[in-house]
Amino acid sequence: MKTWMVTVCWRGWLRGRSNSIFSAMHSLDPGDSFATWRIKARDVLARGIPPEEILWEAAEGSLFEEPPEMVTVAESAVVPPAFVGLAKDVSCHADPRRWELLYRLLWRIVKSGERHVLEIASDPDVAMAHRLAKNVRREIHKMHAFVRFRKAGEADDGRERFVAWFEPDHFIVEAAAPFFRKRFANMDWSIFTPKGCAHWIAGEFKMSPGVPRDPCDQPDVMEGIWRTYYRSIFNPARLKMKAMQSEMPRRYWKNLPEADLIDELSRESTARTHGMIEEPLRPVKRAPANAYLGKLQDLSSFPVADPAASTSLHDIARMTQACRQCPLWEHATAAVPGEGPENAHIMIVGEQPGDREDLEGRPFVGPAGQLLDRALVEAGLDRSTCYVTNAVKHFKWTPRGKLRLHQKPGAGEIEACKPWLLAELSKVAPEIVILLGGTAARSLLGPDVQVTKHRGLVAAPQIASRVVLTVHPSYLLRVDELRKEAEFRQFVADLKLAVSSQVQE
């Protein structure tokens, strides 16, 4: 890599240099390697040689002197980690100005008190470094994408051997190789390029010098099938050649087995699309009689909702799915019906499903539900013997950030949903009803009953012989840490009220 160095251009690029410094110029040869540059840069930096006195170029035929001796440097230049990462990328670029640029940045960071210069992305040096690094990263990515392996045989133990040819613009082969090592560890492979070759053979990784031409030019049988795929996956009605070329520049085409189809496919696309648009339309075929389709149709056709007409809890659950009595159904996943035995002694009524309940289609399975479960156990109640439901069957929510935030149902929604709750109540006909929170209370006892005032046993014989009113468990989740335990005890005590009333009977 000695041919790219043209000293004249180089000078023109150095900014604001006086001619006199040329007499004191040092010429350093970093090769193409970041490691070599790093050693030399550290050395001249330690000796305080400013960027304008160094020419980073191939040593051979140079007009200028190497610095007389390499000293081992005591001063270690502390640079931000971001610089090392950026410099590694930039060093892979084919632009001969990269070493000079990196040294100038290094100098500015360490010697000129501009430690934060990398944070100024619009600084001319930083902007250029970013641009070079971006080109390099992009080409590493393209190498990962556009290397096409060809199968070259199989070892006796069945280990497959693959080879590929690739022509990168920059010195990226080594940087791109780890991807292939991790992905194709179980095959032997070589990637040949003019800028270095990478080999993974029998579990050993090796780099070797670049080769000018593809050393093993034999097509692979899969290439034909890959071309078939390429041809078929293209939608002619969407031809967008510019978009395609910006992602897959022409210079890569010659080593892609599918690329010579591009012209043909794009040429034909107009006619193909016209053909489709002008094709006579087909009449709709009738659905064949089919058990599976019949079942699907059944699933979709709910009876028009009339709670009073329901004959079983199962019926109610099914019919709520078709309910349109208030707008809540539209943005919920599904109605969440009650759950539990038809002959339960105890019916527990909450407010409405929350996020988790809405997703699972079951009442009280979210955080509040888990709290309720714990409290029920403490109170000596078995949830599986209770009928657990909500006053409102669809989840009411409002957008907040990326979430669905629970929102209290309004009086209208509670009223609209009440027939469903009453239908459940009349089917289960429980002896005891536990009302959790204001919404449940409002639905069954009306707007005048408040949890704070009427907590505990309430007389509501039209509902059940024992009715207990208490807070909703989600209240316990919100209450502040100090009062949490006491509130939980109180909640359990309320639930026990239901049991003790049962025992008394």
């Binding site: 991790k182 795929y229 696309s269 648009i277 075929k285 699933l299 669905r404």
Partner: protein, 412 residues
């Protein structure tokens, strides 16, 4: 039928599915000397078709026979298209052969619905299971599932795949009733809900240190744009709901394109590619830039402006919020300047801690000055009020009206 002949039919049938991403999988590789392949991080597009779309996965149908009669679909039962079916083994071998040659990142497998949802899902799952369990395949797998399939099968699909998806196809039940009579919005939402619960649980177990776990990391969906009268507002409202409720990774918008064997219920028109592009832009603004869908569209204007991008359209409707001083504005405010993207906003925030921002800085960050000028204040630039007020602003910023050409590069 030869495998390559089947491939021609079954890849052709899969080309209308817009999803292509192979990113976001759990990081894994075969550096340990076992298994085939790797995944994780940003996906790789191994090729591009002349339609500008990335080819990252082997995207095929297991079969294009189908019981359903979705009119926008070439495989519907009333179409006379040639039918074919891969055996699960054929699909597995093809995936491995392509993968080892570095043609693809993995497999995207969908299928026409034959016999029943469960029967079809079982076949699809079997392909993924064979790849994972018999061949220890560590590349990417995306499985398309059917809402009506049993939850256990969907759970299995999620276990073998990196991404699963259920296509919504159309944003409202009325649209489905007309064009896809076997499909049901509520059932799709319910299936998505169940999947989210499973994915949440899996993520939770992983946080708690379950290292053996391999489970999909996300779900996505596709909607078809332009096959019926649904407005952009319908699409964006539905997407917003899906992102929130089911944590979808992406909603793909697929401009409806003419198909062979067209049904009489369809508009025989060129695909609305610009509209598709605008929807992606708006979707992006909702997910990453803090815009709500009601800011982008109103009941009076339920469709996005096709001439200019939705952020510019929003800025022109809200001129009173500009010009914005880049030296002092908040990140969220800066993100709302037309022509400023996330990366450049972050760079500007970093730059201004050290120095005053000038137009030359913007130029070096490769920000389009003509586009941002009227909306910003910098140390050396204070736009004249009339710049922002004048009617000419739109005229200056909107590209000259061109006949949108079906066969050219219609996307701006």
């Amino acid at each position: 039928m030869e495998v390559s002949e089947k491939l021609a039919i079954l890849a052709d049938a899969a080309k209308y599915d817009a999803s292509c991403a192979s990113s976001g999988a759990t990081k894994r590789d075969s550096a340990d000397g076992r298994g085939v392949g790797s995944a994780g991080g940003a996906g790789i597009c191994h090729s591009y078709a002349p339609d500008g779309r990335c080819i990252s996965l082997l995207k095929i149908l297991l079969t294009n026979r189908c019981l359903y009669d979705c009119h926008y679909c070439i495989n519907r039962r009333s179409s006379n298209v040639r039918r074919a079916a891969f055996t699960p083994e054929e699909a597995v071998t093809l995936t491995l052969d392509f993968y080892k040659r570095n043609y693809i990142e993995g497999l995207f497998l969908s299928s026409g619905i034959i016999r029943s949802a469960d029967h079809t899902m079982e076949q699809v799952v079997q392909v993924a299971r064979t790849l994972r369990e018999v061949h220890d395949f560590r590349g990417y797998i995306h499985l398309k599932t059917i809402p009506e399939a049993s939850p256990e099968l969907i759970e299995q699909a999620a276990r073998y795949a990196d991404r699963i998806s259920i296509n919504l196809e159309l944003p409202t039940q009325q649209s489905l009733d007309r064009l896809a009579p076997e499909k049901n919005l509520a059932r799709t939402k319910q299936a998505m809900g169940r999947i989210r619960v499973k994915l949440d649980d899996a993520a939770e177990r992983k946080r708690e240190g379950d290292r053996k776990l391999r489970h999909a990391t996300g779900q996505s969906t596709q909607v078809i744009v332009g096959a019926d009268a649904a407005t952009d507002a319908d699409f964006l409202a539905r997407s917003d709901e899906l992102y929130r409720a089911y944590r979808l990774r992406r909603v793909y918008y697929s401009a409806f394109s003419p198909i062979p064997e067209p049904s009489s219920v369809l508009p025989p028109v060129a695909p609305p590619l610009v509209r598709e592009h605008r929807l992606y832009q708006a979707d992006w603004l909702m997910r990453y830039y803090g815009f709500s869908n009601s800011e982008l569209l109103t009941p009076e204007q339920p469709n996005l402006d096709l001439r200019i991008d939705p952020k510019l359209a929003w800025a022109l409707r809200n001129r009173q919020q500009f010009p914005l001083n880049l030296q002092t504005a908040s990140r969220l405010e800066m993100l709302r300047v037309p022509g400023l993207g996330m990366k450049n906003v972050d760079r500007l925030l970093s730059i201004r801690r050290h120095t005053h921002v000038r137009l030359a800085d913007l130029a070096r960050l490769r920000i389009s000055l003509p586009k941002v000028r009227a909306f910003i204040i910098t140390a050396d630039h204070h736009p004249a009020r009339e710049d922002l007020d004048g009617d000419r602003l739109l005229a200056r910023l909107a590209p000259r009206p061109v006949q949108l050409d079906l066969f050219g590069d219609a996307q701006p």
